[in-house]
């Protein structure tokens, strides 16, 4: 009866709740799936502490679980035993951030293409057949015991998993190889050589007045949580002055799109340019501690700004000016690199130059790096992978266990991994499906999703988090830790491993009726390991259980502080890195960057991620060869024309895209696409660019690769989620934006627009609560987590590539990306909408989250004859689905085009073969949304819309009404609601606090203050629709 110790409720009620949850879960699921689909875990998984008192009687109430996913703490929202929402952990002390993949993880959990159980794959010879765990175990264990086995994994950061592997290796000689396709070890190398310690401290962007990025991508990959700190200093008029961000890069990244100033430098030049800036600071400005360091001077000598600038094709004054700015901001500035550019052959040099800059502007001394949060970057392991491939070819490996890696898909072509794999006598894959690698294995022993299994995670600042499951495995799968421990024990590994397995058996002489012990060895191993290393007590002892439950509640534990960082004194030999600078390619060079949503492509079968449009290119469902606008026009290309990219031996044919702000001599292709065996949703979407990569110096190289691009016949339409790219704010003031200079002159700058005439009738009164939203465009960086959060919360279907091509996206909130047409004498003609070079070569990017504006005079309401949309007493523009008959008149009359129409039946499977044949889209849509357990992700609070019905953002009305109901239950007044009582999904998901929602009539409401802010602007005032959403000016820091 462990669970009762943790329960705030009396036992009977507690048991009832368990009962309820199982039954309720079954009921909720009955329609869509086998009711076995959602059972509660039998272990004591403890609800999130802030919520526990809200668990009135379980049924109908959400339950929250603090867990950890891909190294970031998350908060799991479950209903009737089904995880239905992944939100960032509200009290996360680790500083780690979430990425789109975290928010979209539900789709991975309920992915119908996961293997339903063990599979005998037969090395791809003959069709795979279902197998059983007993069979797989009997096949694996003897071989494991025999030795000369290799375990190939992705990066492993789970301490207990590491420990388990170590124990097994010690006994059986199992060799562990970890391969992370996206990691290039440049950073680690540079820091190791410079300071003798590879750990990298966390830059304090919230303390920096000036941030200079050399191909930095901290917004493109926000897992390290920098975007939060960054945003703290991006809005003017706050406490601290606004920070200035200068980015040097080749491809326009999301990070670069948020820069105040952006300088186009291609990846292979970045290193020397960074060194040149260092030269200008150290030698030119004679600034910083390195100023009189002869060694440094010698190392930097070849990088005189004039020389480098000439080579890089930029004005030397740009570099010297940058240096001057840095020198001026000494102790208040920080320099960043570490993006894809660092994965170029000159990556280590780039990192080294960046280090020099940080040293010479006292970034370390002034505490612009949080040493306490230092952690070692993930290892790429390319050298190890190559070595492994050679071993396989040489037949030195008898057994290969693949867990979480997929080298057949993502290893560079030169490794020829598939062919090497054929040389191994026995291969078993522990991935969750028969993917590219598993297809060549003997067996697939599917591992459970992190939401289904136990694990743990080591976080920065000496924090440790427990990955606690929120649901029992949906399929016949086992947790990775469970598997390894069980197999290890069976292979005769003594100690903790054996003990963990033994603990799963009923204790001898246990009283009849006593609860059976937890059957998962991984759980026992985990607790034992925590007991040994962190809690210092034996599992089972009351003290341990109390501590353990506390950890489960909070989701993490403060462990021993990590070793102090070494003094940041430069080791002279490291300067050699500056000398070893490879020659930049003469002609075009290629950058292979991780797809914004899919990253390395592991989650490629995730409809939400596939459909999410890249925030910069706005391409969804696929990727393209990004070409600089001028070159694109010279090649007489149109978006979607096929081009052939040739890098060394590897070639790739993919559609071309006119990428604004791309360096003229650089092209770029996203990685993570073109999966061939990830499932029905992701197979064959986009090109697979992984083979184009090379391994040099034990690092995977994905940038600065010399290529040739030529046009080939044919087209492949690109699924753009946006119409026109460019906005001329003189003509269409739809995005409030200005510069800091102008803002300081006039706080209202940038919000100018035509005023509307007087109203012909008296306006309606909203005496009590009235809901409104404010969006600070200075804080919004366009990351799009709000989009996924909304999609998950509101049961928004996936429309697929075809649907996006048909312009039928369903997402209720979208991020419009505009390139601001600079002012010019006279006005731009119509050509501005086609993106003239003058606009798109050096683009000024603007992001606008666009959702239903809940206009006070909503034009959509007037024209609906069916009374399907009307205004509520608290100022909401309501859409009543079961009244809607679908004239689409409201959508036509909506000036913001935020209303979404269900052109198809997305929520029920269409099986008729005849009609599937008549229009192939019918089958596709039902496959994207209704197969297997997919509908289990649905939020029971939100109606699943049928076909022919209009829908749109509801300001998460289910949460608003829940708050009202709660107030009623508690007997509180319902006329006004304090800030934070209602948090819509987009606001919850937003990492930067750009979105503020609340009751604008409540005393001291923040949204009211923001709506009255001089930077606030309501769109299309001239039309008199009076939106409820205020946009706060995007201010660009233009003061050097």
């Amino acid at each position: 009866m462990k669970r009762n110790e943790t329960s705030p409720h009396p036992e009977a009620l507690e048991v009832d709740r368990r009962e309820f949850l199982r039954v309720g879960g079954a009921l909720a699921a009955a329609g869509a799936l086998a009711s076995a689909g959602c059972r509660q875990p039998q272990e004591a998984t403890v609800p999130f502490h802030d919520m526990s008192e809200k668990l009135v009687d379980g049924q109908g109430q959400p339950r929250f679980f603090a867990s950890v996913l891909d190294g970031s703490p998350v908060l799991l929202r479950t209903r009737e035993g089904r995880p239905i929402l992944v939100a960032p952990s509200p009290d996360d002390a680790s500083g780690r951030g979430t990425t789109l993949r975290h928010h979209a993880a539900l789709m991975d959990l309920y992915d119908p293409d996961r293997a339903p159980g063990p599979v005998w794959v037969r090395r791809g010879k003959g069709a795979p057949v279902a197998s059983a765990w007993t069979v797989v175990t009997s096949e694996v264990v003897p071989r494991l015991a025999k030795g000369s086995a290799v375990l190939l994994t992705g990066p492993v950061s789970s301490p207990s998993l590491k420990a388990a592997i170590a124990e097994i290796s010690a006994k059986t000689g199992l060799v562990h190889v970890a391969y992370a396709p996206l990691e290039s070890d440049a950073v680690a190398t540079a820091w190791l050589r410079a300071f003798g310690d590879a750990r990298v401290p966390r830059p304090r962007l919230d303390k920096a007045d000036l941030v200079v990025g050399f191909g930095a991508e901290f917004l493109d990959d926000p897992s390290d949580g920098l975007e939060r700190d960054f945003a703290l200093r991006r809005a003017p008029g706050g406490g601290a002055p606004m920070s200035r961000f200068i980015q040097l890069e080749g491809r326009l990244t999301l990070t670069g799109a948020n820069a105040d100033r952006r300088i186009r430098v291609r990846d292979s030049e970045l290193a020397s340019v960074a060194a040149a800036v260092a030269h200008a600071v150290v030698i030119g400005q004679r600034a910083g501690p390195l100023a009189n360091d002869a060694e440094v001077a010698k190392a930097l000598a070849p990088f005189a700004p004039e020389v480098v600038a000439k080579r890089a094709g930029i004005d030397p004054s740009v570099l010297t000016g940058l240096a001057a700015e840095l020198a001026k901001a000494r102790g208040r500035a920080v320099v960043l690199a570490g993006g894809t550019a660092s994965a170029s052959p000159s990556g280590e040099t780039l990192e080294m130059a960046t280090l020099l800059l940080n040293l010479s502007i006292d970034a370390f001394g002034a505490g612009l790096f949080d040493e306490a949060a230092a952690e070692a970057p993930r290892a790429g392991g390319a050298r190890a992978l190559a070595a492994l491939a050679d071993d396989l070819r040489a037949g030195k490996v008898a057994t290969l266990i693949v867990a979480g890696a997929n080298p057949v898909y993502d290893a560079p072509a030169s490794v020829r991994f598939a062919e090497a794999l054929a040389k191994v006598s026995f291969v078993v894959s522990l991935n969750d499906r028969v993917d590219e690698t598993a297809a060549l294995a003997d067996f697939l022993a599917p591992a459970s999703h992190p939401f289904e299994s136990w694990g743990d995670e080591a976080l920065p600042r000496g924090l440790f988090a427990v990955q606690q499951p929120a649901i029992q495995p949906l399929y016949d799968t086992k947790g990775l830790l469970d598997l390894l421990v069980a197999w290890g024990a069976a292979a005769g590994v003594p100690g903790a491993v054996a003990a963990a397995v033994a603990a799963t058996a009923p204790a001898p002489g246990a009283a009849p009726g006593a609860p059976a012990p937890n059957p998962n060895p991984g759980w026992h191993y985990l607790r034992a390991h925590w007991g040994r290393t962190l809690l210092g007590r034996e599992p089972g002892t009351p003290a341990f259980e109390a501590a353990w439950n506390a950890v489960l509640r909070d989701g993490y534990l403060q462990g021993p502080a990590p070793a102090a960082a070494p003094p940041r004194r430069l080791a002279v030999p490291a300067l050699a890195l500056l000398g070893s600078l490879p020659e930049a390619p003469a002609g075009l060079e290629l950058q292979l960057y991780p797809h914004f949503a899919l990253r390395d492509g592991r989650g490629a079968n995730n409809g939400w991620l596939q459909e999410f449009p890249d925030p910069v290119t706005r391409i969804s469902w696929g990727g393209a060869v990004s070409i600089a606008p001028r070159r694109f026009d010279e090649m007489k290309l149109a978006n979607g024309d096929l081009v052939e990219v040739k890098a060394g031996e590897a070639t790739l044919i993919a559609p071309a895209y006119r990428h604004a702000g791309m360096h003229h001599d650089q092209v770029a292709i996203p990685l993570g696409l073109g999966r061939s065996a990830c499932g029905v949703i992701g197979n064959g979407i986009g090109p697979n660019a992984f083979p184009l990569r090379a391994i040099s110096g034990g690092r995977t190289v994905s940038a600065g690769i010399p290529v040739t691009v030529r046009r080939v016949t044919g087209r492949e339409e690109l699924a753009f989620a946006q119409g026109s790219d460019v906005i001329d704010r003189d003509r269409r003031p739809l995005v409030p934006a200005t510069t800091l200079t102008a803002f300081e002159k006039d706080a209202k700058a940038g919000t100018e627009q035509a005023k509307g005439g007087p109203s012909a009738w008296p306006e309606h009164k909203f005496p009590d609560a009235r809901w409104a939203m404010a969006i600070d465009l200075s804080k919004c960086n366009g990351c799009g987590k709000c989009v996924i959060g909304c999609q998950a919360e509101n049961n928004i279907p996936v429309v697929g590539r075809r649907g996006v091509l048909d312009r039928r996206e369903m997402s209720w909130i979208r991020i419009d990306r505009y390139y601001d047409a600079p002012k010019k004498d006279g006005r731009w003609g119509a050509e501005v909408w086609d993106g003239p070079l003058a606009v798109v070569e050096e683009p000024q990017t603007l992001f606008t989250p666009m959702l239903c504006q809940h206009c006070e005079n909503a034009p959509c309401e007037t024209v609906c004859p069916f009374v399907a949309t009307m205004h509520s007493e608290d100022g909401l523009n309501q859409q009543i689905y079961n009244r809607c008959v679908g004239t689409r008149y409201c959508a036509n009359n909506c000036p913001f085009k935020v209303r979404r129409f269900n052109f198809w039946e997305y929520s029920t499977a269409k099986t008729s073969a005849l009609f599937r044949a008549l229009d192939r889209r019918i089958g596709r849509f039902s496959d994207l949304n209704t197969r297997g357990l997919m509908q289990m992700k649905n939020n029971p609070e939100v109606t699943v819309r049928g076909r022919g019905v209009m829908e749109k953002c509801s300001f998460c009305i289910q949460r608003i009404r829940e708050a009202r109901a709660a107030a009623t239950r508690a007997g509180r007044k319902k006329d006004h609601f304090a800030d934070g009582v209602v948090v819509p999904a987009c606001m919850e998901a937003c990492p930067t606090g750009a979105i503020t929602f609340g009751d604008i009539h409540a005393p001291g409401s923040r949204v009211a203050a923001l709506a009255a802010h001089p930077r606030a602007m309501k769109l299309l005032e001239a039309t008199g629709v009076k939106p409820s959403i205020s946009y706060l000016t995007k201010v660009r820091h233009d003061k050097a």
């Binding site: 009738w761 008296p762 206009c855 034009p859 009307m870 509520s872």
Partner: protein, 183 residues
Amino acid sequence: MMPTSTKGILGHFCGPDEALAAAAKVRDAGWKHFDFLTPFPIHGMEEAMGQKRSWIPYVTALLALGGILFAQGLQNYVMVFDWPMNFGGKPHASWPAFIPITFEAMVFWAALGTALVAIIAGKKDTVPQPPPMVIETGATVDRFVVWISATDPKWNPDEALAFLKSIGAQGVRLVDAEGGAHA
């Protein structure tokens, strides 16, 4: 010698002008229950037959009024009293929006009502009631038929026969219930 079942007497003319002249004569001769069956309406026939102008327009006026009241009543009841809702911030009783339907309803009631009433009135107005069993097939082709009903107060077959002959009607004959004719 005269069959009791005689319904009336008819004869015909070959042109509208003769018919018109004849109508005046029949009227002046004091016949009341007489009628002219013609292929198309003849201008001035009403006066010639001594009939008043049709009363249909008054019915139409009432119906039109009814339509207006119905529409205004319905719209105001629904939008203001029964379930007032906030549509795009407009007032509940946004009268300009009610005009189109008011007009249409007026036309609807008036026009359809008029058509219906006219058909019925046309049947009810003929003599005798119920309308004569017998018709002259030529009356829808090119004959302009004069008909005197046996229900006429001053009905006398011989007199009628003589009279119709005297005003130049052709093919004059008495008509009985079976539609047979006698000279």
